[in-house]
Symmetry: C2
Subunit: 460 residues, 2 copies
């Protein structure tokens, strides 16, 4: 009976053809945010639907008010296998500034970069190259086993780079179609070129805009300076109190639901030997500014933050203008971990501001949809199995990573489809996603496909 | 021998002709800030030179790299009279938005407004109407006495509304020409339509822009939030400490040179029965925000301030962007009183910021030329004499006023020509200077000229 090794061999033998297929996919200029590229987005959806049908999936394009979804299902079911939902996106970022590209972003080629073969082109890493690792694994599987892996649903959107307006409605309306036991999401990275990873902790987010209003109009400080309350001064005092001298966040109840890292995870992160000095030095810094007692990785992956992302008020042009402004505005975001409740934190901020308002000032708020942090259940055997499968493929053992940012779809999968996600990806820090000269290492593509074959073999 | 009464009678009899002359002056579109009006500025300088020559002054236009100065001197000297330098400006503000004017800004007319005759037109109050009060007083004086008042120098610039770039160099190069015992400046206002005033205290100013730099580039808060220092947070903490809870300014040495108001002045200001509730209520406020223990007028006229006039950093557009910015900027100004030293205060601010910088942050500063406060020597008998002269002319006794802002020329006169200034003007709060539909009350113009005749008679 043919087995995993045959599938891996098939992937090796088929690499050139697989790269040609990826190139064809990359030539489609599926920039979702620009309406001028709507037809190319449709072409990309059709391309995927056709590829998946050819491999043996029951694939269908689902039109939406925006760009289409593509959903493909294994025709074969197995009673004992895990039902898996694989998510990816076929749309890409815009390419401007075009003059910073060394070549046409939509004419992909294989080149050398820092001693590695890379495939260069917009979308090569984000996310066409990544999603094709899974598709190629399925193709090889079919070649060897005569059928695609059972119990799979592949789900691709075309609006990830433009805010995914159709995603939540589509998921809500197609819960049954997308139902599975576990989601696989291939939109993350490796620890380094040698070390694959599973991202098991994503920080959540709360975004809040605070507007403080004082006088009913802008005033002249020669005329009113002294008796008139200045909303910038009020705002800076309110913001300044949000952290104590150690950088700890002072909002009442803020740390509810923030747990200390399990020792095992902490030890594993420490074993990564993360180069803090290089990470900070790269952006002109030398000292971690987060809470004392946590190293840089812990601060990014496992600790919550309160950040002022923007502030404005009064005259901000060249030179001076002695205005006492009517309003001052700050945009704040909180990165959340563990079980912190986005709504409670937004409420706590509102109350914090209101409690500190002096007479004659008012506050108003605009909120961005909050999202809780994601903490994967790594005690589920599927995580250890996947970790082993990845470790078998790559030079160094696979690791669990955190992620300082959010991946919104992971939250939607959890909230709407009630599924955890296994986040495995093969991107690298130097892939230049969203930037000119995006690339994806050929090793990421090829060994990524082999990794998925191993994971499917292990967990299904 | 003819006396003051004859001069006053002459002013009364000549009012219609004086208004016609003012209208002619107002028709010249001497907008100094717009190069398209350079010829009109020249015309206004020539018009003034010619008028002053006709009256009997030795008048001369002095060309500069910008718009010309006009200097006119009494041909007659008197050994016992005070030598006086009268300052005014013949340039005017731009008129846009033109659609908000009820009529052509440069076609002046006499109209009624709130029961008062007013002359409407750009520059009617600021400063053509005001300066002509003095010129008309001299004209009537000549008519009665056969000569203009002795020991006078009249000094007019044409760049007051565009930053006076030529003023300081001209004063420095013409100290002898402009030399006198006392300056008269007619660019201020009355307390109300019934009550003339002398402005004896002007606040000075220090302007400082503070830039805090943290990371070498903007960062993503998902990637760096926690370990990366946020310069907005640093800036808000530094600014928040500048005032204590009572609004007292915490910069070391800030209050050096700030004296308590003399009891007599305090009592006089109190007698003005200033309507604090209306003043604050007009701009949506109800409670004076300055230091406790000082009323609103005292806070504006006699107390120093530290204001944040502008703040910016990070993303300030619509919606949210989770950026950790590289820089944050604040524009600050300090209004100074008494003998506060602008340079020491700028230095204290720099040190204050530097002392509070955390590791990995730097600060840079841009300074605006500072100016000390002006406190007139009201013990000089000329002040009491002028107060009495004004009180003789108007329905209510004249008062000493402060001014929350600065009048730069007063500082230059002090620093370069070593002269105090007597600030007398007849503007009113509703004159709409710098705004559409500027006007000057005919009573301000006529009784203003009569006031100058009385003052000249009293102090020379």
């Amino acid at each position: 009976m043919p087995g995993l090794d045959n599938v891996l061999d098939a992937l090796d033998n088929d690499l050139d053809a697989a790269l040609d297929r990826l190139k064809g996919f990359l030539r489609l200029q599926s920039i979702s945010t620009d309406p001028a590229y709507a037809q190319q987005c449709l072409d990309a959806a059709n391309w995927l639907t056709s590829e998946l049908s050819d491999i043996g999936f029951e694939a269908k394009r689902h039109d939406t008010p925006g760009h289409p979804m593509v959903v493909a299902k294994s025709p074969n079911q197995s009673d004992d296998g895990k039902r898996l939902l694989f998510y990816g996106h076929y749309d890409v970022q815009p390419v401007d500034p075009l003059e910073l590209w060394a070549r046409d972003p939509f004419d992909p080629v294989i080149e050398q970069q820092n001693g590695h073969d890379v495939i260069r082109g917009r979308g090569s890493a984000d996310d066409k190259g990544q999603l094709m690792t899974f598709v190629e694994a399925c193709r090889a599987w079919k070649k060897i086993h005569g059928h695609v892996p059972p119990n799979l649903t592949l789900f691709f959107e075309g609006e990830e780079e433009s805010g995914s307006p159709s995603l939540v409605p589509f998921m809500q309306q197609n819960k049954e179609l997308l139902d599975a036991d576990l989601a696989l999401v291939c939109d993350t990275g490796m620890w380094d070129t040698q070390t694959p990873s599973i991202s098991t902790m994503l920080r959540g987010m709360v975004g809040e805009e605070v507007t403080i209003t004082g006088p009913s109009r802008d005033l002249h400080s020669g005329m009113y300076g002294g008796p008139a309350i200045n909303p910038i001064r009020v705002l800076t005092r309110i913001l300044a109190e949000l952290h104590d001298d150690d950088g700890r966040i002072m909002l009442p109840g803020f740390y509810d639901g923030v747990d200390e890292l399990p020792d095992a995870v902490k030890a594993q992160w420490q074993s990564l030997n993360f180069d803090e000095a290089a990470f900070l030095g790269d952006v002109g810094l030398s000292k971690p500014a987060g809470e004392p007692g946590y190293n840089v990785l812990e601060q990014i992956w496992s600790r919550p933050t309160c950040e002022i992302n923007g502030i404005s008020g009064g005259y901000t042009g060249e030179g001076f203008k002695t205005v006492l402004p009517s309003v001052a505005i700050a945009k704040l975001s909180f990165r959340l971990v563990g079980n912190q409740d986005p709504e409670k934190i937004a409420d706590a901020l509102h109350q914090w501001v209101i409690d500190r308002l002096p007479e004659d000032c008012t506050a108003s708020f605009k909120s961005k949809d909050g999202s809780a942090a994601t903490v994967m259940p790594i005690d589920d055997p599927v995580f250890a199995e996947s970790l082993k499968a990845l470790s078998d493929e790559w030079p160094k053992p696979a690791v669990y990573m955190g992620c300082g940012g959010s991946i919104p779809v992971v939250g939607y999968i959890k909230d709407i489809l009630n599924m955890d996600s296994l986040l495995v990806g093969f991107g690298l820090d130097d892939d230049a996603i969203h930037s000119p000269n995006e690339k994806y290492n050929v090793a990421s593509f090829h060994k990524g496909a082999r990794s998925w074959a191993r994971i499917l073999d292990a967990i299904q």
